[in-house]
């Protein structure tokens, strides 16, 4: 928005004699043209990338979703049949349920824990680099290894977690082996890998000017007041960003459940997530038309949720300087 105003200013600024003005405008438009050219040239890798890797695939997947396309067969146009079949597909609905269940718990919990951790890691104490690295560790461990580690930790027989629970007299559930506990287990694992979001919150905390806290200290505000009236409101743009990214991420859950169950979504499909089912359809059963229809349903869901978050954001997101 700022740049628009600057452009307008530039246009109005030359208030000299008429004949000189023509000369100046000519020169100016030449200079502008040069800048347009450089601007476009600098942006050209992305303009190409946007078309080749995003726009064209996006629109061709609409077309594929109306066909029986697979790598093995050219496929024929079948209109809305894929979408009709989806509505009748039990496993599709199961995967929607699993994914929504995961998102409903993971996204809010992720924000609460993420902000809390970031605030802890923003304290001014010695050795912070070590603490920050520790909290970031889980995101650095390869997913396949992570899956195996959690299978051990949550093992009902010899796992550490049930072992600890039994010492305080609680008989732990069978976690990943149980239909009711498999999704909570996955939420727990995902929360553990929250480091990337924490880094972004940390950056947001770093952007809050120190003056606000100084002023609050002069007024005798306590920690709780400072958190509620300075930190959290000024962090809302970052929370907003992470909320949107969190929703998208939750709906794209793939690697962890895939490696945990070797792609099977066990037990009783309770870990069959939307994208896992999409992947199976596209690359195991080669029903690429069907999988493209699934991709578009996902796209519409995610876009609708994002739009909803954007609309409500006016009520709760505060930008500095406004």
């Amino acid at each position: 928005m700022k740049s628009n105003m600057q452009l307008a200013e530039n246009k109005n600024s030359p208030k000299t004699e008429p004949n000189k003005q023509i000369n100046i405008t000519a020169k100016k438009s030449l200079a502008n043209w040069r800048q347009y050219k450089t601007g476009l040239l600098f942006a050209s890798p992305w303009i190409i990338g946007l078309f080749v890797f995003y726009a064209i695939p996006l629109f061709s997947s609409i077309y594929f979703s109306f066909t029986t396309y697979s790598i093995l067969q050219p496929g024929e146009f079948i209109g809305l049949q894929n979408y009709k079949d989806l509505m009748k597909d039990q496993l599709f609905w199961k995967s929607v349920y699993n994914t929504v269940y995961f998102a409903v718990f993971y996204v809010p919990l992720g924000i609460i824990f993420g902000v809390a951790l970031a605030m802890m890691l923003n304290m001014k104490v010695k050795g912070m680099a070590i603490y920050r690295t520790i909290f970031f560790l889980p995101t650095l461990v390869p997913h396949v290894a992570l899956a195996v580690l959690w299978m051990w930790l949550l093992n009902p027989g010899f796992g550490l977690i049930n072992g600890l629970l039994s010492t305080i007299g609680i008989e732990g559930p069978s976690w990943l082996g149980s239909e009711t506990w498999s999704k909570p287990s996955l939420i727990l694992m995902s929360l553990w890998g929250i480091g990337q979001a924490v880094v972004i919150y940390l950056a947001g905390l770093g952007d809050i000017p120190e003056d606000y806290y100084d002023a609050a200290n002069v007024d005798g505000a306590n920690w709780f007041q400072k958190t509620c009236h300075i930190t959290l409101p000024l962090l809302t743009p970052v929370i907003f960003f992470n909320l949107v990214m969190g929703i998208i991420g939750a709906f794209q859950q793939f690697t962890l459940p895939y490696t945990l169950t070797q792609g099977k979504g066990t037990p009783a499909n309770s870990l069959t997530f939307y994208v896992m089912y999409l992947y199976d359809n596209g690359f195991k059963f080669f029903k690429m038309g069907y999988a493209s229809a699934m991709a578009w349903v996902l796209f519409v869901i995610v876009m609708a949720l994002t739009a909803f978050v954007f609309i409500t954001s006016k009520r709760w997101v505060h930008y500095q300087g406004k």
């Binding site: 890797f53 995003y54 949107v244």
Partner: protein, 277 residues
């Protein structure tokens, strides 16, 4: 209590809280390292033995023989290095153009870029796969490298925010001195944006290093596998070599941990949201 003492107490309690929380985040990592040094018979004992007796260093050597470790390592390094170079070359210059240069359609294109950031990767996954198939690139590492050279929306967004925060005065001064736009970008603005470029580089490095679905889709021949795919080979019908698997995982994790430890401060400084409006 005087002020200095109060400060000391609050600092002390901060450490206590941090240490307790760190503990939870460390357990699986410690277990990974500890398992990587255990013989198979000790892996499933309860209560777990945190320090293996005896320490089986040979797991590391056995792991490197169990899978073609150095081939996979080389493949992983090639993909990671090239895709990181690609992202670091393409994203800043595009972001700079969005932040500092004026051209028609710029603002609309930026809004589209943010929109693209929100498209789930799976929506474009199938057409992209077919595109690379047509180009004869399935079964090569190119699909995992090439797109990075054409810009990645999230990184462009982060870098654009950073460039927005840099003053225009430097740019104008250099312009009066007759420097070309490219020189201004390359010699003045890009060095100033180092923290953001570093953040983007590190993000891409980590994403590429542990990527699973990309190699799973595009690398068909086991000669081209990356380490994250290779890890799966320790699990087989005959039984699983847990100690060896964890040895490879540890070797994969340590370099990134060291990188993060030394770069974290600059890395966090490079991410800024103050320009969003």
């Amino acid at each position: 209590m005087d002020a200095a003492r109060k400060k000391k107490v609050s600092r002390f309690s901060a450490h206590i809280v941090l240490i307790i929380a760190s503990f939870f985040f460390m357990i699986p990592f410690i277990w990974m390292v500890s398992t990587s040094l255990k013989p198979l018979t000790q892996v499933f004992t309860f209560p777990p033995e945190w320090i293996p007796k005896p320490v089986k260093w040979s797991n590391y050597i056995d792991a490197m023989n169990y899978i073609p470790f150095f081939t996979y390592l080389k493949n992983t390094i090639i993909i990671t290095v090239f895709s990181t170079v690609g992202a670091v070359l393409s994203c800043p210059i595009v972001a700079y153009s969005f932040a500092k240069l004026k051209w028609p359609g710029r603002n609309i294109l930026f809004v589209i870029t943010i929109g693209v950031m929100m498209i789930p990767g799976q929506v474009t996954m199938i057409p992209l796969f077919l595109l690379f198939e047509k180009l004869g690139m399935v079964g090569t590492p190119y699909p995992l490298i090439l797109p990075a050279f054409f810009g990645i929306p999230f990184y462009i967004f982060l870098l654009r925010q950073f460039f927005m925060g840099l003053p225009d005065s430097l740019r104008e001064a250099a312009k009066i001195d007759g420097a070309s736009e490219f020189r201004i970008y390359w010699q003045i603005m890009l060095p100033l944006a180092k923290p953001a470029v570093l953040a983007v580089g590190l993000f891409q490095f980590m994403a590429s290093w542990t990527d699973f679905i990309g190699p799973l889709l595009y690398l068909t021949d086991s000669v081209q596998y990356t380490l994250s795919l290779g890890l799966q080979q320790f699990q087989s019908q005959k039984g699983s070599e847990w100690g060896l698997m964890m040895a490879v995982s540890t070797m994969m994790t340590i370099p990134v941990v060291i990188l993060f430890f030394f770069l974290q401060k600059t890395f966090i400084k490079g991410i800024t949201f103050s320009g969003i409006k």
